[in-house]
């Protein structure tokens, strides 16, 4: 089991409200990702769930039992920290065994579990080393090993990959996803990287300034962002958001269209513009196009070998059925609102 319900959870540091009343349901076995810009309160929320911070108000219910005032150890959750937080004076074996030793488990069972975890995480060759003698990726694995041996109700991850280099990050992302497939244990994962959120989550919780902006599956957030913040935050590169006359054509205060939903032509189209920068990634090319319809360059995805260069004139046409419309409060308007212009 690993069901976590937050009811009107509130957190203030002194006079500063970090998390205003927040409700959230995390179901058993789900992979939930908290995503949002730096400083929006993701870590604080995770630490409230872990019990490392006390709530100012509200209730935290784990598996139907009120856990609001339980100390961290009594909640049955395991956490993987951004800094890994390994015990520097203990070997890998001792690090992984520590929670089991604290639980008073017998030696034979501890050895069995540690050996198994070390094997599945490819740590058997390093088992007697100290954390200081390991690479970043290996330390990360030890931290995960220390979390899984306890067989917790849920795993909490706080930006576990942000200290790794890009290539390793992709690999570890997959490993964590596989771990979830295998264990089917609830995972709550914090990141500021929307790519991690999109690739790993069953359910994404988008946070801004301690408020939940939207909860949904990656696809839901991509296809139906509830407001301009989510629209701009989810998806890479970012959605183009235009106000003024262009939006008015669609009876909206803001209209949005993703770079991959714009048709590109060298001869005709809705918006004329000049290519400022073109980024060739091989499979794709992203163009940054300056156009009079918007004061910032528009981002457009072109095919991998689209033959344009900086300075070329291009025409852009948003795909009608992929247009997002938002009202003057930034909230999404249902329907596609045909262009009137």
């Amino acid at each position: 089991m690993g069901q976590i319900h937050l009811e009107k959870v509130r957190k203030t540091f002194g006079d500063v409200v970090i998390i205003p009343d927040l409700d959230l349901q995390i179901e058993d076995g789900e992979f939930v990702v908290f995503v949002g810009p730096s400083g929006c309160g993701k870590s604080t929320l995770l630490r409230l769930i872990a019990g490392l911070e006390d709530v100012t108000g509200g209730k935290i219910v784990i598996d139907g039992k009120d856990a609001t005032t339980l100390p961290p150890a009594k909640r049955g959750l395991a956490m993987v920290f951004q800094s890994y937080a390994l015990y520097p004076h203990m070997s890998v074996r001792k690090n992984i065994a520590f929670p089991l030793k604290m639980a008073g488990m017998d030696k034979a069972e501890i050895d069995r579990r540690v050996d198994y975890a070390a094997k599945t995480l490819n740590l058997d060759n390093y088992i007697d080393r100290r954390p200081g003698q390991l690479s970043g990726g290996q330390r990360q694995r030890v931290a995960i090993g220390r979390a899984i041996v306890r067989e917790p109700k849920a795993f909490l991850f706080d930006e576990p990959l942000s200290n790794l280099d890009a290539a390793l990050r992709v690999g570890m992302r997959l490993e964590i996803s596989e771990l979830h497939q295998r264990l089917k244990t609830t995972m709550v994962y914090v990141t500021h990287d929307q790519v991690e959120a999109m690739t790993m989550a069953d359910k994404i919780v988008v946070l801004r300034a301690g408020n939940i902006e939207q909860v949904g599956s990656p696809l839901e957030l991509y296809t139906a962002p509830r407001n301009t913040f989510v629209a701009g935050f989810i998806g890479s590169p970012k959605m183009n958001l235009l106000g003024g006359a262009e939006a008015a054509k669609y009876q909206a205060a803001t209209m949005g269209v993703r770079p991959e939903h714009i048709r590109l032509s060298t001869t005709d189209g809705a918006w004329k513009g000049t290519v400022k920068v073109s980024e060739h990634l091989g499979s794709d090319t992203f163009l940054h196009v300056e156009s009079p319809v918007h004061d910032e360059p528009l981002t457009v995805r072109a095919g991998g070998e689209f033959p344009v260069h900086a300075g070329d004139v291009v025409y852009l046409t948003p795909q009608e059925d992929k247009i997002h419309r938002f009202d003057d409060k930034g909230l999404a308007i249902k329907g596609n609102g045909r262009a009137t212009g």
């Binding site: 490392l52 150890a73 395991a78 956490m79 951004q82 800094s83 890994y84 937080a85 520590f98 220390r146």
Partner: protein, 276 residues
């Protein structure tokens, strides 16, 4: 780190390092050599370097003139006593400052350190008068308290920087892993804090051992440590450089030996636990 450094450059920096080391070490070497000379050779011009008649005479004379072990015992009492007292106060203080800092923590630390900028002689009279009033003049207890107080800012500051290095997340990890407060302290905190505490103890013992202003001004004989022992040989009766040197060597020998053997521990204390 594999930088290509030309051999010429390596020789140059090595020579420079040796030169600087020798310049710093030279006074001690000279004192050492002088302590084995006769008084005449000690002041001869041009000075003799090693080509003199080595003699243990100075060391013998010193032993008969004053009781070295009495002074040494006092030095040990004072440095260990003030260090122990310092730890009792500074460990909890630095602990609180490092792990639950407030807005004022930095200010308090700076204020504590700023007391070290006050010239000691500025408070000599009040302290002296207090010592008379409480009958503490020439007592070990009084000196232990004074040495403890003058070194306290440094101990607190040093421990604070060590404790600050211990990442809070590791303690939180221990809490998540189900460690009780006692286990958290004995199995996680202590092993990480001990090297820092050891270095602090060492430095404080050395500082107390060498402290001369207060030990000379507040003692006469009963509580006088090795600093007073040295001073007693630089008397107005004349220049006894050889004996003065021998006294100095005897005074610094214990701390030199301690420092030499704990070198490794000191360096380890400064690098241990650096897991980022």
């Amino acid at each position: 780190m594999a930088r290509n450094v030309s051999t010429g450059r390596k020789i140059g920096t090595t020579a420079l390092a040796w030169f600087v080391g020798l310049v710093i070490f030279f006074p001690i070497l000279w004192t050492f050599l002088t302590s084995f000379k006769t008084e005449l050779q000690a002041i001869s011009i041009p000075p003799v370097f090693v080509g003199f008649d080595w003699t243990l005479e100075n060391y013998q004379t010193i032993q008969t003139q004053s009781n070295y072990f009495h002074f040494m015992a006092n030095s040990i009492y004072l440095s260990l006593g003030s260090t122990a007292l310092g730890l009792i106060v500074a460990v909890p203080a630095a602990w609180a400052m490092a792990f639950s800092p407030t807005k004022r923590t930095k200010d308090i630390l700076l204020w504590m350190l700023s007391t070290k900028m006050l010239p000691a002689v500025g408070v000599l009279i009040p302290v002296y008068l207090m010592f008379i009033k409480f009958g503490l003049l020439d007592s070990r207890l009084g000196l232990i308290v004074v040495l403890f107080l003058i070194n306290l800012p440094i101990i607190v500051w040093m421990l604070y920087t060590y404790f600050k290095e211990i990442p809070g997340e590791i303690l939180e990890a221990a809490r998540m892993d189900g460690a009780s407060l006692r286990k958290e302290i004995t199995q996680v905190l202590a092993p990480m804090a001990v090297p820092g505490i050891a270095s602090t103890v060492l430095l404080n013992v050395i500082l107390s051992w060498n402290e001369a202003f207060w030990t000379l001004n507040l003692t006469t004989s009963n509580a006088a440590p090795l600093t007073a022992f040295i001073a007693s040989f630089s008397s107005p009766q004349g220049n006894f450089y050889a004996k003065l040197s021998a006294a100095s060597m005897l005074a610094i020998a214990p701390i030199l030996i301690v420092g030499w053997f704990s070198q490794k521990q000191l360096v380890r204390g400064l690098t241990f636990g650096a897991v980022k």
